[in-house]
Amino acid sequence: MSMEFLLATAIGAMAAVGIYLILLRRTFPVVIGLSFLSYAVNVFLFAMGRLAIDLPPIVSKTAAGYTDPLPQALVLTAIVITFGMTALIVVLSLRSFLETGSDDVTLNTGSEDVASARREEPRL
């Protein structure tokens, strides 16, 4: 059981959990699933920098070599962007629940949509 195997399994498991949750029909599991997918992708990006033992990413006079700093910067960017998006989708799902009274993800949930369409607009 090497470290690479453990890491790959963890990324795969988190991605699988995320995909399963996204396909559920209520808003909160979808949000949690998106968070799991973002965990998986951030660990994946970090691992793309390859393994360098005991080496710093920042220039220093006493360093024997350096680990790759670029994936670490990519991970930071991705975390910040995903954080903003997650905040947005949480507020959006809450607002949607308060306006419609249900946290069902699907559109066209029945009579209210057909009736409003009939009322509002021309039917083609």
């Binding site: 996204i22 808003t27 979808v30 998106l34 997918l37 973002s38 998986a40 992708v41 994946f44 990006l45 793309m48 390859r50 670029l70 994936p71 990519l74 960017t77 991705a78 962007i81 995903t82 903003g84 998006m85 947005l88 989708i89 959006l92 799902s93 607002r95 949607s96 306006e99 419609t100 993800v105 559109l107 949509d113 409003s116 369409a117 009939r118 009322r119 509002e120 607009e121 021309p122 039917r123 083609l124």
Partner: protein, 517 residues
């Protein structure tokens, strides 16, 4: 002088960035000053786009180094003919859409203008960038702004559709990161020009990994450009959003198409060695399928906004057919068709908003809108619908006909006449049926109920914006020859990526010595 020209490349990115921040700051002084700032900024972006188009017409690829970091390590903005064309398209579209939103939709919610400018920042940046992770960042900027614009105005239907739109784009962003990570792990670089060089030298053991990364990238761009089977988000989103937002979103699918063109001619193009044409076998069949499903959607739609959204899917299918031909003629036809279909889709979305009378977004109590407006206004809307419908369907004399004709010609020249001609022609016939039926049901059916609720009269600005877009398409028709010669030059520049690579590596003399391409 050339240094000043290079510096001016950053204007389409810098102007909306500063303006959006200023707009948030002045938002407490009322809507009037926000409108003024936004109009000035959008007009100056249009002028900058016209200027950049004129300087890119000499065929030289110009590079702007962000922070003056040397190219393979720093982020670059690259202006070639394709980028300049897309920037000009964005500028014109944004001006028309902003004109249509003033006084009507921009007061339905807060921060419309700031979100509009952020959206333009993301779109302009995506067209200019020469670094693939920077493309991801600009994609995110334009997506987040589009979430805000899409939800503008609120309402239960819009919120539900917005949740789905946000969720699928977050999944798309995740796949983008997986793809970029894979490509970085194999090649060690994120700069597009450097990737073009490194991809040719990929070691035999890493080919499968790189191909996986390339196709994951295609998946992301497929979500953005509504390729089947990733097109399902488009009709609910574009059909539920406010008309100016939907009109601006007409260019977002073109961002996906632009990314496909850029990545798969520059990085994985014909000179990429073992990776050459890695995405090509997928594009043509998927494009035909997209066109067919979009057409069926047009025939099946019960709401006008859904019909227009499915026609956007169908037009993206046509555009991707042209891209999939992978020839200079095909790419030139694709660029021409992209420009005209953007105007057509935007005009149709604005018109759908006017016809349904959703300016105030209240549920109406009239069965058909024939009573809702004065006869004069309805006749004007009917004429505009007729013009836009024939442009979307591809009938003469407007630019849609020339666009489809060019695609058919490129298909014949490329030897794929057996696939392209039946697909385009049969779906055009079905689209004619769909639009004709819609026009009949909206404008010729006698009203069944009388007006119960007083409705506001249609403002002049949205109609002026639609007329401006139809005028732009008429100009595209009349000036088709010079426009097509420009597009052909752009296509030839794309199919010769060495010019792009040399321009990036030579943009800073020290860098050329540090890195051996």
């Amino acid at each position: 002088m050339s240094a000043a020209m290079n510096q001016s490349m950053v204007l389409p990115v810098a102007i909306p960035a500063m303006t959006a921040a200023i707009l948030v700051l002045v938002s407490r002084y009322g809507l009037g000053i926000q409108r003024l700032v936004s109009v000035v900024a959008t007009a100056s972006q249009l002028l900058a786009a016209i200027w950049l188009y004129s300087i890119a017409s000499d065929g030289e690829t110009r590079v702007y180094l962000l922070g003056y970091w040397p190219p393979p390590f720093g982020i670059v903005l690259v202006l070639d003919r394709l980028a300049a064309t897309m920037l000009l398209l964005t500028g014109v579209l944004a001006s028309c859409v902003l004109g249509s939103a003033l006084g009507t939709w921009d007061q339905r919610g807060r921060h419309f203008h700031a979100l509009f400018q952020f959206q333009l920042l993301g779109i302009n940046g995506a067209f200019l960038t020469g670094d693939i992770f920077n493309l991801f960042v600009f994609f995110e900027v334009l997506l987040i702004a589009s979430y805000g614009l899409m939800l503008h105005g609120g309402g239960p239907r819009r919120l539900k559709a917005g949740f789905q739109y946000v969720a699928i784009n977050l999944v798309g962003s995740t796949v983008f990161l997986f793809a970029v990570g894979t490509i970085y792990a194999v090649t060690g670089t994120l700069n597009m020009a450097d990737l073009a060089v490194k991809v040719r030298q990929v070691a035999a053991g890493n080919e499968a990994l790189l191909a996986a990364g390339a196709l994951m990238l295609l998946t992301v761009f497929a979500i953005k450009s509504a390729m089947v089977p990733l097109h399902w988000w488009l009709p609910p989103t574009y059909g539920s959003t406010s008309p100016p937002a939907a009109a601006l979103f007409a260019i977002m699918t073109k961002v996906g198409a632009y990314s496909i063109i850029r990545v798969y001619t520059l990085i994985f193009g014909a000179e990429a060695g073992p990776m050459a044409g890695v995405a090509l076998p997928w594009i043509m069949p998927v494009a035909v399928l997209t066109l067919v499903l979009g057409t069926f959607g047009v025939l099946a739609s019960r709401r006008l906004a859904d019909l227009v959204a499915y026609s956007v899917v169908a037009s993206m299918g046509t555009l991707l057919i042209a891209i999939g031909l992978n020839s200079a003629g095909g790419l030139a036809a694709a660029l021409y068709y992209a420009v005209q279909s953007t105007f057509t889709s935007a005009g149709l979305f604005l018109l759908a908003g006017l016809i349904v009378g959703r300016e105030d977004d209240r549920p109406a109590v009239v069965e058909t809108p024939a009573e809702a407006q004065s006869t004069g206004i309805m006749m004007a809307l009917a004429a505009l619908f007729f013009l836009l419908a024939i442009a979307m369907v591809g009938m003469p004399p407007l630019a849609g006909f020339i666009g489809k004709l060019l695609i058919l010609d490129a298909g014949r020249a490329g030897g794929q006449i057996g696939i392209v001609w039946p697909a385009v022609l049969i779906t055009s016939l079905l689209l004619i049926l769909g639009f004709a039926r819609a026009g009949i049901r909206i404008f010729w059916v006698a009203p069944e109920r009388v007006l119960d609720d007083a409705r506001p009269t249609t403002r002049i600005l949205p109609i002026a914006a639609i007329v401006a877009m139809i005028a732009a398409m008429a100009a595209l028709t009349v000036f088709a020859r010079p426009v097509m010669s420009d597009m052909t030059s752009a296509a030839q520049q794309l199919l010769a990526p060495q010019g792009y690579i040399d321009a990036v590596f030579n943009s800073m003399p020290r860098a050329a010595a540090m890195v051996t391409p």
